[in-house]
Symmetry: C3
Subunit: 265 residues, 3 copies
């Protein structure tokens, strides 16, 4: 039997305050399209991003950073080698790391790379519904980088994938689901306008990497990052005229919501 639970505002504020206090250093090995928004999302919330991508130094930096994000969006063979080395160090040093298997499915080489990276036991696997269903072995992927499934269609796949791998699995969509295979947290809300801004999903992966440095409860820390995104999307859409202003206001909202208890003090 699966347990479902939701996420409280108090818990979100607690995680946000911890993040600002600790300022975790997040080693981001991500795709070329979302580098800027990924860094800006982390900075808005009080984390410290650093993109180190060469095979000459990715392993060394992985041992220094507090967490690692691997996002295979614009994978190349050079980046893949560097990612593997960083993952190996993260695994050995027991640093938390997040895998985002972007566009898994239709492309053979990418699929093989992702399967290899999975061997280093990611702490969290996050993706859209089509990606999670495909990675769990029951689908052939999405439409390029977009999902062709609703997030609720991926709940069983996510729970199975979590049970098999030991990772927390997070699915984003109309509702987000975060699961360890036994307990599943649902985060409702957000707004579809976020899908019109590139990198909102990818940068969430980076924020998850930052949050899971905060305690050993990876499931709830991961859920907190998702909740912060959903709340910020709602704020943003209320103040935006389209995806351009949504992008700006969304970053403002991440900053304001994550710092709201700071300002009370």
């Amino acid at each position: 039997m699966q347990l479902y639970s939701s996420f409280t505002e108090d818990s979100l504020d607690k995680y946000c305050a911890q993040l600002i206090n600790r300022r975790p250093l997040v080693h981001c090995m991500t795709n070329d399209v979302v580098q800027e928004i990924t860094a800006n999302v982390l900075l808005a919330c009080g984390a410290s991003p650093a993109m180190v991508i060469a095979e000459e130094e990715s392993a060394q930096f992985s041992s220094i950073a507090d967490a690692l994000l691997i996002n295979v969006g614009t994978l190349t063979s050079e980046r893949y080698i560097a990612m593997k080395q960083a993952c190996e160090v993260a695994h050995t040093c027991q640093k938390p790391w997040v895998l985002d298997p972007v566009a898994i499915g239709p492309m053979t080489w990418r699929n093989n790379c992702i399967i290899e990276l999975m061997k280093y036991s990611p702490s969290v696997i996050r993706g859209n519904a089509s990606e999670i269903i495909c990675l769990a072995g029951s689908g052939s992927g999405g439409h390029g980088v977009d999902s062709i499934n609703g997030s609720d269609e991926a709940i069983n796949a996510a729970q199975m994938l979590a049970s098999h791998t030991g990772a927390i699995v997070a699915v984003t969509g109309e509702a987000d689901f975060i699961t360890d295979g036994h307990r599943t947290v649902t985060i409702n809300g957000g707004h579809i306008m976020a899908t019109r801004v590139v990198g909102t999903g990818c940068s969430l992966g980076a924020l998850v990497a930052a949050f899971i440095t905060l305690d050993n409860n990876t499931l709830d820390a991961c859920a907190a990052a998702h909740a912060l995104f959903k709340r910020s999307e709602e704020f943003a859409v209320a103040h935006a005229q389209g995806p351009g202003s949504f992008h700006s206001v969304f970053l403002d909202a991440l900053y304001q919501i994550s710092h709201r208890k700071q300002n009370d003090q």
Copy 2:
């Protein structure tokens, strides 16, 4: 004798509605500087961007995507090999593809690469006036990535290039000219503030790739993408205080103008 014609708002709305309906998957192999704005422009208008750049998978993805954009802005030898493979597949599978010969002229290696890519018969060649004049064989290029010629100076070169290659040739500038060598469509308007925001030209190439998937009238589909940009620039400049806010409002305008007939329904 050359025919000139303009472009109607009704035709623009028809193309926009089709784009939203079909959501074409655009394979973008573009430069490092404009990855984010390129994706955001496509998303704002309802297309689906995907950046796949490795030689291990560019050909495979080219066969899946609906259209391909090749922009040589920050070309490297690795990207060039991957681009050639993608172009070959696009050519063989008769997928439409757009070539943006960024900064052709002063750099020898880049020129040779562009000439090689031309062999795969691009559906559309788009660039600024200096680039089009240079590619047509009568100029030595611009000032870095910027034009040193007015777009009207490039009309003859564009028409000649179109006749020789069979491609639609599009020149951007104070007025845009799109030609098949016989018929030339003029798109007036827009605003010079767009030249203060990086990637407005490059992302137009991606939008052209999306639009030319919609019917076999490549000339008019290409003109529709240009018209959507000009109209959005005019909207943006009326609501902007400089290039930073112009960028945001421009994306909002692309979204609003392309979806205006949707909202009427």
Copy 3:
């Protein structure tokens, strides 16, 4: 004895007017994260950015451009080879160039690359306090790409580094210090919100490269670029609700402040 001096608004306006008039072409070899903001900062102020990164053409373009920026943020071995070739040409042709030694300290390979690049005599070395202290030989670097020192702690290191290398050394932080080892210009003001937007430091390096093409007084030209940033940060924070809107308004402010005397004419 060290001399300290401040910077006048009149001098800033003079440099800005020259920049708009001359439109220098800045060859940017910078990290993947900040490509867009770097180009947009240069465009906002009237300079012309071009990112040319392949070893096949970086040297050729370096001989064409008016100035070169080398920022080692997401260094790879391929980019390093291309950078060295560009630096060699810049040095030989006496083109001004700026070195930004991002994240120098904890990573061995990066440190060695930076030391090699230093041999081509950069005109300006700019960084945060921890980077400048480390490069001067008295510290082990920062927290990823962020400083762990106040900028005032780096004044002595900056002056020593300038004296030893012959470069102008610029430190950014709560106050900015620009020095030739003898005379040190202090630029006060700005706002800490700028540290929540990725690339504000990196893009300043590009603007410095543009400004030092304007006259042989590299120290004052460099200080002018820093002053323009500080003034724009102050303007931006007064009109922003967080780091997202700060980014937009900051670019607007760069445009408005750099063009204010143009508009008077």
